[in-house]
Every structure is written in C-alpha cells, then in structure tokens.
Subunit: 233 residues, 2 copies
DNA sequence: CAGTGGTCTAGACCACCGG
DNA sequence: CGGTGGTCTAGACCACTGC
C-alpha cells in the first residue's frame, strides 16, 4: 500500500487472480468496481480495466455494465486449441515433412460439402486427396474441396512443391472459418492409406474457410492413430 | 477522411481487416506504424494500439518492437473451442439432463493418471464413473479421478443431486488445467455403456485441472457416437 | 435514472531489439 | 543508438441496464 511501485496491469491481474484463487472473492460474488480497485491498487482506472478485461476474456470474471463484475461460477470454460499447421508441427519435432497428392480431379462434391461451400446443384469443383508424412510415416490424410469457381487460379496450381494448404494461404486472404473435431473409426481404405488397422479410432478435424462471403475450401483431416490435440490454460 | 466521426477501435480494426482482406497489405508485409495510422485514421495512438493488439491476438498480425507490424503469413491459426459444460450443453438443446454414478471407489490410479495428478506411488484416491444422459439416451461417459488427498471433503460429498463436476466447481477454485482431444474406437464395455456398437469411432476429451500447484482432478469424457465439438472464427 | 463498465484522448515514459 | 510497440495516467464522455 505504501509502496510507490508502478503498478502494471499484469500485477493487478495477478493480484486479482490470487484473490479469486484464495476464495477471498468467491464464485458468483460481486467484486469492487473499477474506480474502487484503482484506489486500492494505487493506479489508474484504465489499468484496472485492462486487467479485468483480460480475466473476463479468459472466463474468470463476468462483467456487465451497471451490474458490476462477478467471479465466474464456471471458470476455465474455453480453451484455445491452436490449429495445427502440418508442416510446422512435423518439422518442430525434428521429423522430415513430406506429402503426396493421391488424387486430383474435378467433381461434384457430396451434399454436405456442397452445403458447407454454399454451392448450387451440379457445380464441379477441385477435389484433392493428400497424405502428409513425418519421416515417411503417414501423419494425416487430407481430403480437400476447393471452390475453384471462386478461385479459378487454383486449376493451374502446381502442387509439387507447395501443398494445397500452403498454396491457398499464399494466394487467398482468409478471414474466417469454422472447425469441427470428432472421432471416427478407420474404414478399410483409410486404414490402408494411414497404414493402420481398419476400425482404429482416429481424430478428425474438419475446417471450412472463407474470404468475405466466399466459401473457399472445405477440408477434412484424418490423423494417424494416437494423434492428440493438446492445449494448456 | 474529411469525416469528423468518432473513431472507435472496432472501426479501426474493421478498416485494417479490410486492408488485409483486400490484399492492400499483403501477407508478410510491413504496415505503417501506430503513430502514422493514428494520423490516417484521425484518432489517438492508443486506439490504434487497441485495434492492432486485438488482431495480433487473433493471429492476423505479427508485432515486434522496433521491427514493426506485419501481416501474418499464416492467419487463422488458433481457434477457441469452448469446453462443454455437460448440463448446459444438454439443456440448451431442450433435452432432459440426467446422470448416473456407476462406480465410486478408492483405488490406486493407473500410471498415466498418477503422472497427470503428480501422485506418489501407492496413494489411493477417489475414482468415479458417471454416465450423463440427454432424454435418457447416453450422452457422455465420464471417468474421473479426484485427488482426495488435496480435497478430502470430497469423500463426504453426496453426488445424488450434484454431479462430480458441479460439486468440484462449487467447492474448488480452479485456476488452470490442460486439455487433450483424440479419437478412439469404442471397447466392448464402453459400447455397452454408451449403447453403441463396439468399434465405433468416438471423441475423447481429457482434462486435468489444478488449483495453484495442486493437481485436483483428471477426467476422461467419452462422447456418444456422432458427437462433434464445433467452433467458428 | 443513476451506477457501472466501455472507450477515447493527449501526453508521457519505458522496454525491447534491429541495424 | 534510435525507432517501434507496450503501457500508464488523468480526465472525460458514453452506452448499457438494473432498480
């Protein structure tokens, strides 16, 4: 209190964290408002705001105008999984990255993909199947549909040196998308590609990416057995 | 430009987004520094900072002191999945939430759980198996280990009205943990509990939660077939 | 309607780190 | 070294929303 130390917003945040952790402020409870905390901590209100806003984003606090700030009843509710960038993920473990395009064709996508890409009836678009490898062992099998009506250049793309994903990242400015994770059992064909047994449990990551209002690509990543997506918070 | 409109940081952020989306600022490229943008947008530097910081957190920009701000080469790299709160998830779809504690015992956990909970050799702790149901249909099967040495009160807990998770959330102030998602094939026993076929592909979410330096609980959620975790960005 | 968080400003100093 | 982002401040006005 008598300290003349400059308070950083991080220091304030840590302090508040301790209060919550020590249950001095209990779940569901109202905590003092910003102006008061600013006084207590001996800093500007903006600094308190910065600290509390961060905690609210992390889910530890719930804030509403006029109603004040409360300790969240259910903390740790959101976790940010970093979407793997295959090449980086493989190379960061010291393994050798590789990939092979299995299939490249124009085709009318199945209904679910049509819906995800907002395509009309009979549009043929680019369909790719690619296997990514780590030290030559199957890592992830990618099934990708690219809206080649929105991105006609892709038809001339050469995927020998640049994977479909890397090509798209270079050529298109994504600005959003959605992700789904689920679990499936390997079909006979998938097992053959991933060099595992049919019926093994695999993690699936599906992603749809758009640029503005254009849906660009829908991709399904089928990871090798034992693959885990992990995060910490 | 001639507008006297008050610029909010959101407006600045949208503007920058458009620049990136339209590839006026290309991936990897350096963008003007904060002071200059503040001039261009007719606002304070703090406002620009707020806008750009948000974009950097979202992964769209990369910022370094002295080096300046660049458009990220690989945007959309992280997606925040919200960790499901079973009861809310079920009730939000209008279904009836229920659960049943199958097993409650003291037991020495398997080595992987011992490691995750930082337990020494032969400590017996609380082991629970619970099935959560939506409209009486199996929704998720939970296998949970609770460090009853750190939280002795749990031994007297009554899980008739409050699920293990809800009890813990009420009694313990979590402040961190880690999450893993993966895919598995249902064993015969798991299939029986979840009323599905052995070998079906299932999503698994594993979570370890701590309070300060104490590891409190390790839980494995095995979701019913067809369950998907979804997020948008 | 009044209290609370949300935001903007102008100015300042600092930490980092590229050249 | 000097340029850039990171942060703090004091004060102000505003937007939302519970009472």
């Amino acid at each position: 209190m008598t300290e003349a130390d400059r308070k950083t917003w991080q220091a304030v945040q840590d302090e508040v964290r301790r209060y919550i952790s020590a249950r001095i402020w209990k779940p569901g409870e109202l905590i003092p408002h910003e102006a008061e905390l600013a006084l207590q901590f001996g800093c500007a209100r903006a600094t308190v705001n910065r600290a509390l806003r961060g905690l609210a984003e992390a889910g530890l606090l719930e804030r509403r105008r006029k109603a004040g700030t409360r300790v969240a009843l259910n903390p740790v509710r959101r976790a940010a999984f970093s979407i793997p960038i295959i090449r980086e993920e493989i190379e960061s473990t010291g393994q050798r990255y590789g990939y092979k395009v299995f299939l490249r064709e124009m085709r009318v996508p199945p209904p679910d993909v049509q819906a995800r890409l907002q395509l009309s009836g009979a549009d043929k678009i680019l369909h790719l199947q690619t296997l990514y490898t780590a030290d030559n062992r199957p890592y992830v099998f990618e099934t990708r549909w690219i809206n080649s009506i929105a991105v006609p250049d892709v038809l001339n793309a050469d995927f020998d040196m640049l994977s479909p994903n890397e090509w798209l990242v270079r050529e298109v400015a994504f600005d959003g998308g959605d992700f789904t994770v689920s679990g499936v059992a390997a079909t006979r064909e998938e097992a053959a590609v991933l060099a595992c047994k049919p019926g093994e449990g695999l993690l699936v990551l599906e992603r749809t990416t758009r640029q503005g209002d254009n849906m660009i690509t829908a991709v399904r990543l089928l990871f090798h057995p034992g693959y885990r997506m992990h995060t910490r918070c």
